[in-house]
Amino acid sequence: MVVVLLPSLLAAQAGGQGRFEVDAATVEHALRQVPVADLLLDETGELRRLVNVYVDGTDTRTLDGLHTPLDGAREVRVIAAVAGG
């Protein structure tokens, strides 16, 4: 079991819930179980460019991206990139 944590804008889109406990083998599997998966992944299944996902504090882009395994992981945290105005 891993905890997926969402920022407040996404929590508002998920019915006010920003914390989800899911059983997942990979980051992608975890993200697909939260009700805002369509806001995290585009229609081709790729992670949106300005969405960052950390597994226990490590950016998954430095790991295996969406395929990063969650063996023993405790937390998947979604954070919007610092961008825009």
Partner: protein, 347 residues
């Protein structure tokens, strides 16, 4: 009266002097309407991190349902970027949604889900379309009330397209519309025009108006040919918004800007220009509007309601209203985030 003001930072509802909002905080509301069929609020909401969405509320904005899985077919090679315009359809549950990159979606279940219109994706001239500053946005969707098989879309910078066969095919309708950003003699191409807003007159549906990057135009033959209308009182042909009086096919409103290279309202004032003779002459209507002012009004930022009210919102966060056809104006709100769209409720 309810006015929906979509802003760069959420949706605001203006009602009897009260301002409610922001609803959908953090979302850029490119367009918001109240569907007169069921009273629901329908919004093209975008976020630069999380993409383009359609969101709908059936409880006056307390809760929202997002159309899930909104996207383009993988074999199209296209990806949905932003949503721009919501247009209620003819049938129960039918909603049209215009989006970037030059695409149209249709819902038949009240906005729970949408399907991309494949025939527009496959429009044979697509490879010659170019994105404007706002991306290749499909921002205008107009249904012909006299013919269930005819409708129009307008895309920047591709131009106006019409279907006469219920969306099976789309034909460019840009004859006589300039594309002055191309050198002569290539400045009247078949496609590539930068239309900024297209409207059809509901009582005279063969009449269309468009505010274009290169002029204001009217067509009286369903877009087959267009007449350029600037001059005769208009300080500039460049602008974004357009509004029509649903009771009078000869009346139209525009808010010109200096030009493409200086996108502020013309002549150092926020000025609405009105024609009552089909565009032959235009008069400034600015009583009550700020001067000097260098504002900007976006393409969805001007609207007309069934009772003769005219409304617009500015990039500087004000919303103005006129109840006398533009003769005089009152500021309904100020210091909102930049206003992207204004629509009056029809309920």
């Amino acid at each position: 009266m309810l006015l929906l003001a979509g802003t760069r930072k959420g949706l605001f509802l203006l009602r009897d002097g009260e301002i409610e909002g922001p609803l959908l905080p953090g979302w850029s509301v490119y367009h918001a309407i109240q569907d007169r069929r069921d009273g629901s609020l329908q919004v093209a909401a975008n976020n630069f991190v999380y993409g383009g969405t359609f969101q709908r509320s059936t409880d006056d904005g307390k809760t929202w349902q997002r159309a899930e899985g909104l996207g383009l077919p993988e074999d199209s090679g296209l990806k949905l970027e932003e949503t721009w315009h919501v247009e209620p359809g003819r049938e129960d549950g039918e909603i049209w949604l215009g989006a970037t990159p030059g695409v149209l979606f249709r819902s038949t279940d009240g906005g729970e889900s949408f399907e991309a219109v494949q025939s527009l994706i496959e429009q044979p001239t697509r490879e010659r379309w170019e994105p404007g500053a706002g991306g290749m946005c499909c921002h205008s969707i107009q249904l012909d009330p006299s013919d269930p098989d005819r409708m129009y879309v307008a895309i920047s910078a591709a131009g106006t397209f019409r279907t006469d066969d219920g969306g099976e095919s789309w034909a460019p309708k840009n004859e006589g519309v300039a594309a002055d950003f191309f050198p002569e003699p290539d400045n009247f191409p078949e496609v590539g025009q930068c239309v900024h807003k297209l409207l059809l007159h509901p009582q005279r549906p063969e009449r269309l108006w468009q505010q274009n990057h290169c002029g204001v135009y009217r067509s009286d033959d369903r877009g087959d040919t267009w007449e350029r209308l600037e001059g005769n009182g208009l300080p500039s042909g460049f602008g974004f918004p357009l509004a029509l009086d649903p009771q009078d096919p000869d009346v139209a409103y525009v808010i010109p800007e200096e030009g493409a290279e200086n996108r502020v309202t013309a002549d150092g004032r926020i000025g609405v220009y009105r024609t009552a003779d089909g565009g032959a002459t235009w008069e400034l209507a600015s009583d009550g509007l700020p001067e000097p002012a260098w504002g900007a009004v976006m393409r969805e930022g001007l609207s007309f309601d069934a009772d003769g009210g005219v409304y617009f919102g500015t990039q500087s966060g004000s919303v103005f209203a006129s109840t006398d056809g533009g003769e005089s104006w009152t500021e309904l709100a100020r210091q909102l985030p930049p206003v992207l769209s204004v629509e009056a409720s029809w309920s």
